[in-house]
């Protein structure tokens, strides 16, 4: 009976040691690969930011006053030199004096 208990304890401790070691290996593995993942994500963020900057720059160039004006000229649009100003018409039945 006593011998059986001793064997059980031995097996239990061996399993416990194996499980704890495995957990440690897993955790270490997780830590090391997460660091790599983080580097990958950081690099990706930088790439996306750079791409974003490039696109902002493209938008700024193509919407610039000079670009629009050149495009308008190419399309044959021109400035109207004679400006006609329309005054606001009086409302119907308007009276300057209170009725």
């Amino acid at each position: 009976m006593r011998e059986g208990k001793k064997t059980f304890l031995n097996i239990f401790f061996i399993i416990l040691l194996t499980v704890v070691s495995a957990i440690q290996v897993m955790l270490l593995n997780q830590y090391s690969t997460t660091g790599e993942k983080l580097t990958f994500i950081t690099r990706k963020v930088e790439e996306v930011e750079k791409e974003n900057d490039k696109l902002s720059q493209k938008i700024a160039s193509s919407t610039s006053r000079i670009a629009i004006s050149t495009r308008a000229q190419d399309l044959g649009l021109f400035k109207n030199t004679s400006v006609l100003s329309l005054t606001t018409p009086l409302r119907f039945a308007y009276s300057p004096q209170p009725l």
């Binding site: 090391s32 660091g35 580097t39 900057d53 902002s56 720059q57 006053r65 100003s85």
Partner: protein
Amino acid sequence: MARRMNFIFFLFFLIFCLIIIRLFLWQIASSDRLGGLAEKQRLVTLTIPAQRGKILASDGSPLVINQTAYGIYLEPYKISDREKTISFLSKELDTDPSSISAQIKESLLWIPIAHKLDEEVKERIESKQLSGVVFTEEDKRYYPEASMAAHMLGFVGKNAKGEDQGYFGLEGYYDEQLRGRNGVVHQETDAFGNPILAGELTKIPAENGRDLTLYLDKTIQYIVETKLREGVERFKAKGGSAVVFDPESGGILAMASLPSYDPAIFSQFPTEFYKNPAISLSYEPGSTFKTLIMASALNEGKVTPETKYNEEGPVEIKDYTINTWNKKYHGEITLSEILQYSSNVGMVFVGSKLGKDLFLNYLERLDFGDLTGIDLQEEATPPLRSKSKWYDIDFATASFGQGIAVTPLQMVRAVGAIASGGRLLEPHVVKSIKTNDGKIIYTSPKVERIVFKPEVTRIVAEMMVSAVDNGETSRIKPPGFRIAGKTGTAQIPIAGHYDTEKTIASFVGFAPVDKPRFVMLVTISEPSTSPWGSETAAPIFFSIAAELFSYLGISPSD
């Protein structure tokens, strides 16, 4: 046996002592040095560069943003074919091969060759797969509107430490705010350089530079620059400036000067182009100054709109004779006609009525001789002579704008006081500043002082309208609109006398008169086709004004 035991004991004791000494040296005496070395091995310090702030127009569209650029470095010990590398780089970088060759020293680990290269150049060099050529990322300023408002924006160059620094205009004035602050990361890394998440991490985030939003309206700036360039070419002038000022807020809606430069390639232009003439050029305002002296005399009640002057001939002041500009004399004329005919002798009369003390007092109240306080680097002001250095002839000539120097900005601001009911405003370029945490700080309009009574400004404005409608410029003004304005033609003083050939022609005015939306000054330096302001600066002013009416939705009835 005992001797042997003693020897063994002594040997162990000695080894133990040596270990203790060694441990003492490592752990106590050299602890800091070794700790540092260990940290250096496992800790990486990275700089997080702060992005320089953007400069935006009043509608939020970008005038200056950042672009990724590249610095190119050489590692001499890795270069396999030195001649081929130098020859290719010199072609791509447009530099002399000898200048690259001179920089390469075998004793150096790396040598910076060029900065702020475009991505296309980097890709071309990279495609050659030259050994010993490395790139680093840098930030570069990008100008979507090319050279628009170059004098207002300034540029970013390198300081003595090799760091980016803003020079001139907004880049110079707001350098601290635009620059931001770099951040730092201290991180524990593994053998491959990947971060250890459970390790040490100290992070001071970068504080990006603040974004500036300007009063500048891109469309108005474009109109002003286009018309000014056309005018300078048409009148074969040496240069010119135009300033458009908002009389409500004191904001600068547009400011252009010629000759100008491209801030993206500033080093390819002569350095004298960098200074903004609109805020630093001293010139004699000529007849445009008459409006201010007239307003001062009316404000003090020394003359009234009914006052008349008998313009019967030249005026003698001691040894000097003052004539009208065309030597024509109109007999009895009103104050309004003095401005309309741009009568120098009439203004000598008005100036004398104002009196010397009040004359100088108004110059000071209009801030002549002082900086306007505009938020642009390199603003300058010609000094105002001390009271003891003013002689009778000086008061007489200054009353029609000669013998006194101002900057274009000072002049447009002073006339702005007439347009804004007598309020002298501090001019501003920046409308708001956006901080890193998204907070927006607005620049509120600042009234420096009230110089003129509102009723006086209305009288002077009507006189200026009359000068435009009935004077030399009546044929060229946009029909139907009420524009207050005044021409000016000043000779350029050279070595104590005036150059009879060279002039600075100008036109200052505002519109619509009843509720001014803009005050504008156009100055043209040394026009060749005609020396007169009415034939050079005025047509430019009116052509800009005509487009502004359309753009701002101002109808003739306004």
